[in-house]
């Protein structure tokens, strides 16, 4: 851990930043409407589809994308690959905001949000509830993420005394930060087991928690790679292709494991026949498979994954594949019965878009103002 983190510096209020701010303002308008006129005013959620865009994207997909911190911590601390440490702070940054905003979107999504605090009262806890596990675990992990991330802020504040004290206990939170996502990323999948026949047979399986966990980790790595490349381009920093291609090399093995488990399970339960049934579901399944296979093929090839453009598209494919898997399972291939329809409403999508915009703004703020990105060692001349 000899690397040095430095704020990138530069002007914060760029045109892009204003644009993101504009998107956030639009979302703010719809959020205010939601709290004055209710959920029905801005969204298409119904009794048939109580979980729509907000749960599917902001919570389920959003936290999986925000698994960068978790995935990198696994690599650095569990598999002891210290060479990836320089990238951990930026991974944590996306995790912090991914999770925090997922928590905020829950408050927007839950009908009687003023009752939410009851989740945290032990006397009301239903210990058999997957939902309780998710709620408590995600909340706790968000707190842990902020503690894990706090050294960057403390360094920027030059609060050295506090920083020293924190260093003594940080190992505990790093440990928790690996345990908690393992629990709730799988539980997010378990939520669908309860939905039962409403979930299409191509997605419904008893091993769905494992599948969700594996894809969340793969998406975490994918996001770290994608983000680093994207930031390098837009913040005019040198590419970290070497390190990224080594992270990218982990992904295909995760995806192969995932595909073997998923297709093997479908074959064993006999649900593979559902592929021959009419409807859009087999095509959605095929699209997922195509994205996963594209990422596997490109990332397995050393020559290919060392090219930034290929790395960029395959990282994006991993994230998209995982996102599509979640969208299919939670929304598109989810059928609560005849007569129910769902397509996210305008306000619903714009709130989600605004939340993404806030994440981007927060990323830019912290990267420019606090020591997040590792300084490059001078190139050997």
């Amino acid at each position: 851990m000899t690397e040095v983190y430095r704020p990138v510096g530069g002007r914060l209020l760029t045109r892009q930043f204003y644009f993101m701010g504009f998107l956030a303002l639009i979302a703010g308008y719809f959020i205010i409407r939601r709290f004055i006129f209710g959920i029905g005013d801005v969204s298409h959620l119904s009794d048939g589809y109580p979980w729509g865009m907000w749960i599917t994207y902001d919570v389920v997909t959003g936290t999986a994308i925000a698994c960068g911190g978790y995935a990198m911590a696994l690599l650095v601390y569990v598999f002891n690959r210290g060479q990836f440490h320089p990238i951990i702070r930026v991974a944590l940054l996306t995790s912090v905001f991914g999770y925090t905003l997922a928590g905020i979107s829950i408050v927007i999504d839950v009908g009687r949000y003023w009752q939410l605090y009851n989740v945290f009262l032990p006397q009301y806890a239903n210990l058999n509830s997957v939902m309780l596990e998710v709620a408590l675990c995600v909340t706790l992990y968000t707190l842990v993420l902020w503690i894990e991330f706090s050294p960057a802020i403390l360094e920027a504040m030059k609060a050295n005394r506090l920083l020293r004290q924190l260093r003594h206990v940080l190992f505990f939170f790093i440990g928790l930060g690996i345990l908690l996502p393992t629990m709730h990323q799988s539980s997010l999948g378990s939520l669908l087991i309860i939905a039962g026949y409403k979930v299409h047979p191509l997605w419904l399986t008893n091993i769905i928690p494992l599948l969700f966990l594996i894809t969340a980790i793969a998406m975490g790595y994918g996001m770290v790679v994608f983000e680093s490349l994207y930031a390098s381009v837009n913040l005019k920093r040198e590419l970290e292709t070497d390190m990224l291609s080594r992270i990218g090399a982990v992904i295909p093995w995760l995806l192969i494991l995932y595909l073997v488990l998923r297709i093997g399970d479908l074959a064993m339960t006999g649900n593979l026949v559902a592929l021959t049934r009419p409807g859009p579901e087999p095509f959605l399944f095929a699209a997922e498979m195509a994205l996963f296979l594209f990422a596997i093929v490109t990332l397995l090839n050393r020559k290919l994954r060392e090219r930034p453009t290929v790395l960029f598209w395959s990282a994006l494919a991993v994230v998209l594949a995982g996102a599509l898997y979640r969208f299919d399972a939670f929304m598109i291939a989810y059928n609560p019965g005849a007569g129910w329809h769902y397509f996210p409403g305008v306000g619903e999508m714009l709130i989600t878009l605004g939340i993404v915009a806030i994440e981007v703004m927060a990323y830019l703020f912290f990267v420019k103002k606090t020591p997040i990105l590792a300084m490059h060692r001078p190139h050997p001349a």
Partner: protein, 404 residues
Amino acid sequence: MKDVDTFPNETAMGPYLADQLDIRGISRRGFLKFTLGITAAMGLPFGMSGQVLAALEQSQARPTVIWLHFQECTGCTESLLRATHPAVETLILDLISLDYSETLMAAAGHQAEQALHESLEKNKGQFILVVEGSVPMRDGGIYCKIGRKTPQQLLHEIAPHAAAAVAIGSCASWGGVQSAAPNPTEAVGLQEALTREGIVKADGTALPVINLPGCPASPYNLLSTVLYYLTLKKLPEVDAKGRPTFAYGRLIHDNCERRPHFDAARFAEQFGDEGHRQGWCLYKLGCKGPETYANCPAIEFGDVGANTWPVGIGHPCFGCAEQGVGFHKALHEQSDVESVTPSSLFPEIFTEHAGGVTVGAAAVAGAIGGGAVVYAVGAHKQLKQLEAETATSAASKTEEEVNQ
């Protein structure tokens, strides 16, 4: 004296309803629930349940009932008593003064005839005549005799002195099973028998007859009619066939729980097939619900628990309560559908809910997707440029190395 105080006044003792409920193990709460239910069954407003309750509790209001059995099977009486399931209904029998009933009275022979005679003398113009069974018109009614008298003779003797008549069951309403072809006894219902025999009330006005068809008639419809009379001191509104509209105002078909399947054209084609097992409409199996007026789907039949009435347990309605249907049409003959389109008040099978894609939503989704693609392609272009630069610099580096 202490003892005198603790014992209730002897004159205040009597057959009180509360005591009767106590003896039969019926709670006050259960009794009130029954009252509310029966008020609803009579089609009376909810607020009138207090009056119904008062009528139930007034023991001096017991109307005298003379119950005659003609050509019938006593099924209506049996279903009213339902010995296996005594409840509040049996209690109602205690609220009417059943002075003469061949089935229920303890007396027999001359003793019974004497009771009838005495009651007739005492309650002239006051009592309710309940008739169960049809009247055989052929050969002067000799096919049915009670105490050596034909139904015609009995009616001539008793009916003119009744305040009103209730024809219970399909037999008394319009002949029932005895009137089925070839109708050897020329069986007819009470109303027609009175008309053909020219029997009117002693004051010359027509005797009002309330028909409660059904085979057997639903006991609740009799109870409701009696209670209606006790509460409001008048007879309930009846339709053209003399049936109380509160019970016979709607087609079975209109209240049937399988009606949505009819509207969706999902029929059981034969017993035990897929549709039958799925609980689909029984119309094609000969259900007479579409032409039979009765409240069976609402109050069910037989009083043995949830969803127990013929259609509920998977058998087509026989049309027992409808004139010219039950005992006249074949069991599995398809019925004439009186109302093809459902009332707009009925819920659809699958209610369509809002929440589909709108133009605005599609546009926003497209814009977001398009924007994401633009950003991604932009990054790709820049990356490609960087890639090319590093490639050239690497190439030049190797070139330099080679040159050195």
